[in-house]
Amino acid sequence: MNDDATVRSCPECRSPIPADAPGALCPKCVLAKAAAETEAGQPEQKPELPPLESVQAAFPQLEVLGLIGQGGMGFVYKARQPNLDRFVALKLLWPRLASDPAFAERFNREARVLARLNHPNIVAVYDFGCSGSFFYLLMEYVDGVNMRQAMRSGRFSPTEAFALVPRICDALQFAHEEGVLHRDIKPENILLDTKGRLKIADFGIAKILGEGRGNITLTEQGVAVGTPLYMAPEQLEHPQDVDQRADIYSLGVVFYEMLTGELPVGRFAPPSQKAAVDPRVDDVVLRTLEKERERRYRSAGEVKTRVEDIRSSVPPTGPHETMATGGVPPQLSGKQAQAPPAGIAITQANAAQSWSKKAIAAAVLDALALVPCGLLLMVFPFVHRLDLGGMGAVRFSFLPFLALGLFSCLPALFGAFFGFAALNDIRRAGGELYGRGLALCAALYWPLLVGDVVLLFGAVLLMKFLAWTAPGLTLLILPAAAVVIGAIDFLIAKQVWRATAPPGKPAPARLAPAAVVCALLVLSLPVLVLGVLMWVPLVARTSSGFAPPPPITTSLSDREVRVEVTTPPRQTFTVTCVVLSNRVPVSSPDFRAKVGPGSTPGIFAVTWRLVENAEGAPNAAPWEIVVEDQVSGTIAARLRPEGLPALTWTASTQARDIHLTSAIRESNAFEVARAFQSGSGPNEQSVDWSVRLILQSAKIGSTGSLAGGVETQFKVPAGQVAVFEVVCREGQNLVALPGLAAYIIASPDAEVAGKFLCLPESDPDGTGDWRRPWRVEITGAGNKSAAGGFSVPEAVARYGGEISVLTTLQPEAEVVHWAGQGDSQHPALGLRIRTLQSEPQLASHNSATGLGTNWPKAFSSGEPPGR
């Protein structure tokens, strides 16, 4: 900024530039330009919006409804004239303009001219004036969008551009004949209403605003009024000296933008290189965009004539012109050629609307897809059920149904594809095609249906879950799911409907097609539900609705067979083992372990395994069945049948011998059998031993919670006394616990039940607070029973379950059933049942029970009584 000797003069105002001017620029010109351009209709700092109340107060004759626009020239409100019952647009010019006295005069003069412009493509001015502190124009209200908004939502097709430009020309020609220049043609000022009519707004407003004669400082700078990008070069340079050709230039810019989506800035390409349009259009557009106005069209009418010529001359005029112009791009044939030659309005085009073929094709395909899908859903379960119902060995193959499913996929896929293509076509055609609703239905039906099925499966899973936790809610799930699914479908359909609205036609408020899609889907849902309901039992192999199927998994290793069971909450879990020899249940004792209910689903592992070291006990079992509570990590029960031979485990080495029957659910009972060979010498016949596990879960009755213990059912051999003793193992010996014993003498055929139970520390019988943590009980025929509880000084190892044993007692024998397992602190406890000869023989008095082992001496054989 340091100029030494030479004093430079400003090229703009010819005055010397002061040496201290920042940037060595003429401060006067710079600031004047900054100040002026602001006033020229582009205030970057928006003045405050006049409050609605003050506007309403200034216009008592109107109902001011709200602001609908705000631009370089002021604010536009939507208002209603109650007496005429029509909507009007109220344009308020910037309040600060009112301070310019010359403005009022100019405003009145120009507005009077504008009010005379009466043309269908020009927004009519009803009234103007000054009310309160506002200069206002009362104008026709156009319900629609401006071309900028329309372009933003989707470019105009050449057809649309060709239909719209002549109408802009009409309006301009009319105004020019009336001596009015627009001076600010741009997409924002070209309005398209909902009926497809075009109206140009803001005629001459630029002049009112820009002709600021009152302020010399501002206008002498050569302020250009208008929007620079759309302005003719001469309008930029000499705003005062413009004629109708400036408007034609601006029209050319708009035309170019409609065709290419770009502005003709710099060295721009002709439209036909940017978009698929007739090359002859280039001549028209480029001539409107000539830098020198002498070379432009002289009138808007001329532009219109040229455009109409191109539109109408394409295929019907025969090959001559086509050849002369070097071929016509396909886009211009077809619809455009059939369009009326002149004065086309989109409204007229509406009359010639046809249906979108793609939409129809899509709908047909969708319907086609329904047939195989319906077959698949409805027929297959029935057919398959016949097979299950015992028709024999004939099994229906899945393959035909798989093929059917695929066949239903294809039309559905194509239907959706065509539907979307049709939507796109209709949007691009600017609403000149019928069938948008149909296309929407066709496009969305199958995709949404698939989504719905997924959601529905989610709902079914939820139902299964609730069947365990809150059975009362199960029935609510399906209606709730239907409502949710319907709402989701409706929202999606609405969005798609809105998003595919043709440009220039704002989406109408009615959403009927979206609702139809939604209704179709919701109607399809019961069919789906039915299908799903029929499929679910099939898949889950359950016959009782939505109760959870037994989740049973089995695994084999070289030492064990392991079955994992998930049990429902609040149910007892019972494992019954039947030992089979060569597939025949042997008469050796059956075992049953019962595990008490928990509030959560239980996870149990039932393992049949060999015992590593049989602990040297004389009758120690060579194998055992252990029920483990996986949740708490404890052993709930350990079943050790005695008197069985040692086995050679072949489970994993001879897998082909393993016969694992699948779990069959039958009133909550599952059977898992596992066979294996018993090993022996070469001379011995090998025996196939197996164990059948019957897994049951049952709702617990009123008996309260379970404790550990042994429960037996047996028959007392004739002439014998059965003595129950609770024993514990001490090394090699069994020691009977004092006091925990009972005996029974029963008639030979009578079934007797004996129990040795560890009761929880409550009062199970409700007889008082006497604690009887241990209890031995024998119930004989005729309900004669002996029961007693004795306190044991020390707690014993925890028992997670109850073991039931069905025992056939042999005379003069003894069996021990172990309940639970011991640990380092606590001995393992078992129930020993001995049978003894009772003397003398009983005849009439053939039944007795009692506590302890000192059965009546009268019957005693001299055997010392138990301790």
């Binding site: 090229p11 002061p18 201290d20 940037g23 710079v30 600031l31 900054a34 100040a35 400082t217 060295r267």
Partner: protein, 248 residues
């Protein structure tokens, strides 16, 4: 260098500082800060005004400092009504008061055989004094001088703000080349030349010029509105500044 007039201070535009000052009557910390920022922004006009009224560069700087300090301290010499709306008017009034005050003081000192005026030529060595009038402490400097300096300061600040903004976008070179167009198309010259220089198309230059003008306009308006009570007066103030420059 602490006395360098901070014409290129880089604080961002804050919303109408002058309003803040007025609202608080200069009492709150916020208002003090706003006033300080305004003083800093318009240091140059004050300084030049003082220069014009016959101070040499050094003492003008000192006086400007003192003036600002007293202004910020809320010195009662500020016997002007801040309610007049414009910071420019307020500041001019304050400076004039301050100057009168200082003159009295000088007179008293002179009577005591105090300071001697320094040579005029001494100041000519620095660039900012190139076109200064012959200083006459007794002469009444017209208000327009202050206003003209003010207008230049506004312009300089807006220019540097735009330059900063563009430089941060990596368009510093573009700013340098296109800057002349801010005065008008004739001042700019051929856009083709600029296009060549910048390696852009002519159309792009056209757009860039348009954008530059718009930015500058925004900057000027924002600058001016900082000093006004009512932002609606921006246009009026701008007009006034243009007028002042035309006469100058």
């Amino acid at each position: 260098m602490e006395h360098t007039p901070p014409s290129t201070s880089n604080e961002a535009f804050a919303p109408t500082r002058w309003t803040v000052v007025l609202r608080a009557r200069g009492d709150t910390a916020e208002a003090k800060a706003a006033l300080g920022a305004l003083c800093e922004a318009y240091w140059q006009p004050i300084f030049r005004f003082l220069r014009r009224s016959g101070r040499d560069e050094e003492s003008a700087r000192e006086l400007t400092q003192e003036f600002c300090a007293r202004l910020l301290a809320g010195d009662p010499f500020v016997g002007v009504d801040p309610g007049r709306g414009r910071f420019r008017s307020f500041l001019l009034g304050a400076v004039k008061h301050f100057l009168a005050d200082v003159r009295d003081h000088d007179q008293r000192q002179k009577r005591g055989g105090g300071a001697v005026l320094e040579s005029l030529d001494a100041a000519n060595s620095t660039e900012t004094t190139g076109e200064l009038l012959v200083p006459d402490p007794a002469a009444v400097v017209p208000d327009e001088v202050f206003d003209r300096e003010w207008a230049l300061a506004v312009m300089a600040r807006a220019l540097s703000a735009v330059e900063r903004e563009l430089s941060s976008e990596g368009k510093g070179e573009q700013f340098k080349v296109l800057q002349p167009w801010l005065a008008g198309d004739a001042a700019g010259g051929l856009q083709a030349d600029a296009a060549l220089k910048l390696g852009m198309s002519e159309g792009a230059v056209k757009v860039a010029v348009h954008r530059l003008r718009r930015r500058f306009r925004e900057a000027v308006r924002s600058e001016v509105s900082e000093t006004l009570r009512d932002t609606a007066e921006v246009q009026e103030e701008l007009r006034y500044l243009v007028e002042v420059l035309s006469h100058g």
